[in-house]
């Protein structure tokens, strides 16, 4: 599904290298987790994949189902099936959440050469998916993320994911700012979307989220590289011992 090869990235504005050769292979239907200390480059990886400005790829590639993501505009990456659930979802005053969702769904349909969804079908779909995430009608009417609590913003991200039905979902610290109940709700939302044709990359600091969303593979990132890869037990080890042991082990 997603194949990242030797990805090197620096900040455009300053001479600061963030990613130093990331290699990652995520198969169809797999859930991978990336853990790592602050400043290891986890969020940068997600932004670079989604196409945010301000980063310069100096080497490497990132293929989504064989297509080079790094050559595409952000909207083309979305149409190709990539979705990033933001760590800090953006508030957009004046743009209604519903308008935003419908515009996004239709834009992607258009990019794929499909007909626009009818208002009736769209409404039905959005209400049904919002309900399972406990997103009420008021949240759908309000401007995008305006006045939403931390938990509401993250649930709104998952709603967008559910509506857009991407192939490759990146969850950037979706657990940050969530209480226990909200985390459960968000995880259920994610788990409902798991299927053989959809892959996930879950970026997190804590084992907690991985109790709810069980990963197939866990990667540890440090200093802009993936330094260790293992099964779910690796996350538990980090939870119990911290990163120090692992860093020492690889001499990072």
């Amino acid at each position: 599904m997603l194949e990242i090869k030797n990805l090197h990235v620096k900040l455009q504005e300053e001479d600061k290298v963030i990613l130093r050769g990331v290699n990652l292979n995520i198969g169809a239907g797999e859930v991978h987790a990336i853990m790592g200390p602050n400043g290891s480059g986890k969020s940068t990886l997600s932004y670079v994949l989604a196409g945010r400005e301000g980063y310069e790829v100096t080497e490497g590639s990132a293929l989504l189902q064989g297509a080079e993501l790094l050559d595409m505009e952000p909207e083309e990456r979305a149409a190709a099936g990539l979705f990033l659930a933001f760590q800090y979802p953006v508030e957009i005053p004046g743009v209604g959440n519903m308008t935003f969702l419908r515009t996004a769904v239709n834009a992607q349909r258009k990019a794929r050469g499909e007909a626009e969804i009818s208002s009736g079908d769209f409404l039905k779909l959005v209400r049904e998916r919002a309900k399972t995430l406990k997103i009420d009608a008021d949240m759908l009417k309000r401007p995008v993320n305006m006045g939403f609590s931390g938990g509401e913003k993250k649930r709104n991200e998952i709603l967008q994911m559910a509506m857009l039905e991407p192939k490759m979902c990146i969850l950037d610290e979706t657990d940050s700012g969530l209480d226990v109940d909200a985390m459960k709700l968000v995880s259920e939302g994610v788990n409902a979307l798991r299927d053989a044709g959809r892959s996930f990359l879950v970026i997190t600091h804590y084992q907690r989220l991985l109790d709810h969303i069980t990963p197939d593979v866990v990667h540890i990132m440090a200093g802009g590289r993936i330094i260790k890869t293992g099964g779910p037990e690796l996350a538990l080890k980090v939870e119990n011992n911290g990163y120090a042991d692992l860093l020492a082990e690889v001499g990072a």
Binding site: A50, R52, A78, P89, P143
Partner: protein
């Protein structure tokens, strides 16, 4: 040459021997207007209210027409009564039958009787509006305008009245002067669309009696090179309400002046404007609202989107007289600068003599929010469309001032069209 004598020299050249018509119910008002104009002269860049908008293009010869952007009929779904003016001349063939349920319509060029309902309005609101700020182009219009619509609204008029302007000839100076008399409890919607002419000078005088409601929506987006000065003078009696919205785009130089007097108690005036301008075009909103009655409310909401060297100007004043206790005044002017070349000049003025008053004003200039743009793009929305969404969101506070939801939607669609056309 002193400033005063230069003003007069410009005026003599601009008048070029034209004299006001000497017959009909407007004759007296025209003589007075010409005398006012001769006393004040044409505006000059050193005049306080013309410092940010150079009047030269308005004082010299009228220009050639620019590229035209015809648009569909505004409010077509509401079956408006249409009056078409081609280069300022009434075009009966392109107009509706002038019969109106709930009111009466006449044309300035054909209304000669001395007992006309517009007699107390024509030139009189304009004259009041000359103090304390001189508005020479309005006086010029009163003196010389040959055509216009005289509307007497006596009841609740459901059909909007659409004033449809078509510009056809180069170097054509067009002046139109409309008078609107709203009887107590009357209600009407006036729509305006199109370009007046290569250079347009429009005056609307509206007198709103007790409890009347006037909606006014103007779309001036049709000509790339147009020069236009418009004045809306409105006098509001108790419990009356005026809602005015203007969408502007493309014109080379547009100045919209709105002068409102809230005379009665509990009257309400909302003036909103949305403009999208690319350089070298220049747009100016100049507003003067006087609160005289008690517990009146006024809102000024102006939004400018500027690009590649465009200049936007806002001069907005709220004057609260001592009698106007419990006034609620609000004013906001904002610009969205799509690049680093454009300029927005805002001059908010509040002059308050009453002590129990709520008045607020604000003005901001900012760039498009790149984070929001990326967020929208990351959901599959193309950059241009994402930008249009954010521009519409920026404009929302102004477009929300349009009471009719269909017309509000039409204005939003026009904004999107302008964005596509101008690749703003």
């Amino acid at each position: 040459m002193s400033l005063q004598s230069r003003h007069r020299a410009d005026l003599a050249a601009r008048l070029g021997g034209q004299v006001p018509p000497s017959a009909g119910f407007t004759a007296h008002a025209r003589v007075r207007a010409l005398a006012r104009l001769q006393a004040m002269g044409l505006p000059h860049g050193r005049d306080e209210y013309w410092r940010y908008t150079a009047p030269d293009l308005l004082n010299g010869p009228a220009p050639s027409l620019g590229a035209q952007h015809p648009q569909g009929q505004l409010g077509a779904a509401l079956n408006p009564l249409v009056l078409t003016f081609c280069d300022g001349v009434f075009d009966a063939a392109a107009s509706s039958d002038l019969a109106l349920a709930g009111g009466q319509i006449a044309l300035l060029s054909r209304a000669q009787t001395d007992l006309h309902f517009a007699q107390d309005i024509y030139g009189s609101l304009e004259e009041r509006g000359q103090t304390p700020v001189a508005r020479p182009f309005a006086a010029l219009n009163t003196a010389l305008a040959q055509e216009g619509v005289l509307l007497h609204i006596t009841g609740k008029v459901v059909r909007p009245i659409l004033l449809n302007y078509v510009a056809k000839s180069d170097n054509c100076d067009v002046m139109l002067h409309h008078c609107i008399k709203m009887d107590a409890g009357a209600e009407a919607s006036i729509l305006e669309q199109g370009g007046l002419g290569a250079r347009g000078n429009l005056v609307i005088e509206a007198d709103l009696a007790q409890g009347s409601v006037l909606h006014h929506i103007r779309s001036q987006t049709s000509d790339d090179a147009a020069l236009a000065v418009t004045h809306l003078f409105a006098r509001l009696h108790g419990d009356s309400a005026l809602k005015s919205f203007t969408l502007s785009a493309h014109g080379r130089l547009i100045r919209n002046e709105t002068v409102i007097e809230l005379l009665g108690d509990h009257a309400s005036a909302h003036v909103a404007g949305a403009s999208l301008i690319a350089g070298p075009d220049h747009h100016d909103d100049t507003v003067f609202i006087t609160h005289q009655g008690r517990a009146c409310e006024s809102r000024q909401v102006f939004k400018n989107v500027l690009k590649s060297g465009a200049v936007g100007v806002f001069q907005g004043k709220i004057l609260v007289r001592q009698s106007a206790q419990k006034t609620d005044g609000y004013q906001i002017s904002q610009s969205l600068l799509l690049d680093g070349d454009s300029q927005f000049l805002a001059k908010p003025e509040l002059e308050i003599y009453a002590d129990d008053v709520k008045c607020s004003h604000g003005s901001t200039s900012g760039a498009i929010d790149e984070t929001a743009l990326f967020y929208l793009q990351s959901r599959g929305i193309a950059r241009a469309q994402a930008q249009a969404l954010l521009v519409l969101a920026f404009m929302a506070e102004a477009t929300q001032e349009i009471a009719n939801p269909d017309l509000a939607e039409e204005m939003r669609a026009q904004i999107e069209m302008v964005l596509q056309r101008a690749r703003l």
